[in-house]
């Protein structure tokens, strides 16, 4: 097997707040293999955004890395100099954000912005323009020539997100991080973008880290999925296995809650009772214990670790069953 593009080992990140140290990520480990689409699911507050900002090393001023490493193509990103990191960003690792209206510059036209992204390539203006046109065509934008002179507000939401994807892929990165890229879009556009991403991933051979709280999109797009809860990875594995045989009670609950799964029409939708634990004052044992219906005495004291399978879950029920 070839080496993964990105390997995160035992990463813990916390924020200094007035109330104390908020432990946003705790002992997160996973890897992104070459040419695969990895999905990260989890509800708000599960640490998805902190994880992304750690990989990009765009930390908030009050963030601190307590432990762990982020190895990208053999180099630990956390140990790179700011200059080296800057040369990776947008070149080797690029990103598509949730809201294309705020991630594109409103006062520059599309052509100018796309040329700016190619600044480091050192090619001529004519070449940059040709490459911009080629990329716009690749992401399925009709009449690319006239689009170059338009401004973001003149494009529809779906077009803007496609422009953002074109810009992210322009430098042929090894890793594309997509942070909820379809949340702001309608269902029909969502499907268009997902298919486009799949196609582009095949053509460019890059790896994609796809972050979303939309389970349906993850099921459709990703090869592997990582489920996060309150700053920990609670389950990961091939998408099929995680969706068909979820092992962690949180994953099971999350899947049950999705109204798409409930075939019979119902007025009373299932919910996960309780609320997220306070990450400043962590409860001992399993982080999901207070909301888990299958909690045992052991869960109150021992923190479960991820099992060693391909399809892994951090739950005491795993070793109890085997």
């Amino acid at each position: 097997m070839n080496t993964p593009v990105l390997q995160i080992r035992d990463l813990s990140v916390s924020y200094r707040t007035e109330r104390g140290l908020l432990q946003a990520l705790r002992h997160v480990s996973f890897s992104v293999p070459e040419g695969k689409i990895i999905g990260i699911v989890g509800e708000s507050g599960c640490g998805k955004s902190t994880l992304i900002s750690s990989i990009m090393r765009l930390f908030a001023p009050n963030a601190q890395v307590d432990n762990g490493s982020i190895v990208f193509k053999g180099r630990d990103l956390l140990g790179l100099s700011p200059d080296d990191m800057r040369s990776l960003r947008g070149d080797e690792i690029s990103m598509v954000f949730q809201d294309p209206m705020t991630s594109l510059n409103p006062v520059l036209n599309i052509g100018r912005q796309m040329a700016d992204v190619q600044n480091r390539s050192g090619s001529s203006r004519v070449d940059k323009r040709a490459r911009s046109l080629m990329m716009l065509e690749r992401v399925g934008i009709p009449d690319p020539v006239s689009q170059l002179s338009r401004y973001p507000h003149q494009l529809s939401g779906g077009m803007r997100q496609r422009v953002a994807i074109a810009m992210a892929l322009m430098t042929e990165p090894s890793l594309l991080i997509a942070d909820e890229p379809t949340t702001a879009l309608d269902a029909t556009l969502e499907v268009q973008i997902i298919h486009r991403l799949q196609e582009l991933q095949r053509d460019f051979g890059c790896s994609i880290l796809f972050v979303s709280h939309h389970l349906g999109v993850i099921a459709e797009l990703c090869d592997e999925v990582i489920v996060m809860y309150a700053g920990e990875v609670c389950e990961c594995g091939p998408t099929r296995e995680v969706f068909f045989e979820p092992r962690h009670p949180y994953t099971q609950k999350l899947l049950e809650c999705d109204p798409a799964r409930i075939q019979r029409r119902t007025r009373q939708l299932p919910v996960i009772g309780g609320s997220l634990p306070n990450l400043v004052d962590l409860p001992p044992g399993c982080i999901f214990r207070q909301r888990c219906e299958q909690a045992m005495t052991r869960c109150a004291t021992n923190r479960p670790v991820l099992s060693a399978d391909v399809h892994r879950a951090a739950c005491h029920l795993q070793d109890a069953g085997s």
């Binding site: 077009m159 309608d186 029909t188 499907v191 709280h213 459709e220 609950k253 809650c257 999705d258 939708l269």
Partner: protein, 335 residues
């Protein structure tokens, strides 16, 4: 008994910016955002309006609350015609229709505590309520929030909590009709469930009629009794929601339903993928307005606009070649 809300051929037209001089050219001076919409909402019932962004869903909601310029059509509320005159603000019906806005935090004043925000409706409508602050606490417990939250500001709430405050504010004056604009957008699945369950409970307790605006079809399937599919300001298909999910006739509805991402990674649906972009409201296509993206498009669709067809069960749609009918057959409705 008459419906709670009955809308007939409602049209909303916005004036476009520009001087009189620039109007002398070819540029249109107006844009019709809602174009001949009719619907009925009964007490205790939910109607869902679905459609892509820019199809006019929110404008329709605004128009029903008197917040958008109505060009034509009639709106009856509780059997009485709503007057859109200058004094419409004073209309007693205004407090019987409430609107839940899309952005829960944005729709609360950042400088008011939750207590103040919840007491405000009583003060604005001069209900004679002696102790609006007590009412605020009652509303908080009604939507399942802790009284501790009363003295917080909107930015101190989570998305789900802000949503609940939005619900509390909307039902403060015991409305008959609640218009919920994307009540679950941006919420996680389990919190989405909580908010929808809350709406369902209030509907049962208060006999609310609900107009639910969303593009999440899974929500529609569970919540709505009736649904209407909107495209470029018109309802292209309308009827009982269960029936539409089972047997839809308009190709646009079919595309919307098939686009609904599915939780089953194995299942690959025969997805109808729409090509092209939503046409601009300023340049509505000739003929059927969906013809630029329709997979079943025929010559006739580009020439004339399909009239509304009504099935035996009251399910209506606007299409010459509806699903369930071969394209070779004569166009529908045959006239």
């Amino acid at each position: 008994m008459s419906s709670l809300l009955s809308v007939r051929d409602l049209r909303v037209r916005f004036r476009l910016p520009g001087s009189l001089l620039s109007r002398s050219g070819k540029k249109p001076a107006h844009v019709d955002v809602v174009h001949g919409v009719s619907l009925d909402i009964e007490r205790g019932q939910t109607i869902a309006i679905v459609g892509e962004s820019g199809s006019g869903k929110t404008t329709l909601a605004m128009a029903l609350c008197g917040l958008a310029p109505v060009l034509g059509g009639e709106v009856y509320f509780n059997g009485r015609k709503l007057d859109r005159g200058k004094n419409s603000r004073l209309n007693p019906d205004r407090k019987k229709v409430s609107l839940m806005f899309q952005d829960p935090v944005g729709s609360l004043s950042p400088r008011m505590t939750i207590r103040q925000a919840l007491a405000e409706p009583f003060l604005i409508h001069r209900t004679g309520e002696k102790n609006p602050e007590e009412q605020a606490l009652r509303l908080l417990s009604l939507v399942g929030l802790n009284e501790e939250l009363a003295d917080r500001y909107p930015h101190q709430l989570s998305g789900g909590q802000a949503r609940r405050v939005g619900v509390a504010r909307a039902v403060a004056l015991n409305p008959d009709l609640l218009i919920a604009d994307e009540p679950t957008a941006g919420l996680d699945v389990s919190i989405q469930g909580e908010v929808l369950n809350l709406l369902a409970r209030l509907q049962q307790d208060m006999g609310l009629g609900i107009m639910l605006i969303t593009h999440n079809l899974n929500v529609v399937r569970h919540m709505a009794d009736q649904m209407a599919v909107m495209y470029l300001g018109r309802f292209v298909e309308q009827g009982d929601s269960e029936k539409i999910f089972k047997r839809h006739r308009h190709p646009y509805t079919a595309a919307l339903l098939s686009a609904n991402p599915c939780l089953d990674p194995e299942l690959r649906l025969d997805r109808i993928e729409l090509t092209g972009e939503v046409p601009s409201l300023l340049q509505r296509p000739a003929g059927c307005e969906f013809n630029t993206r329709c997979p079943r498009v025929q010559e006739r669709c580009q020439l004339s606009f399909p009239e509304t067809t009504t099935d035996a069960d009251g399910h209506t749609f606007k299409c010459f070649y509806p699903i369930g009918q071969a394209i070779e057959d004569p166009p529908y409705p045959s006239n």
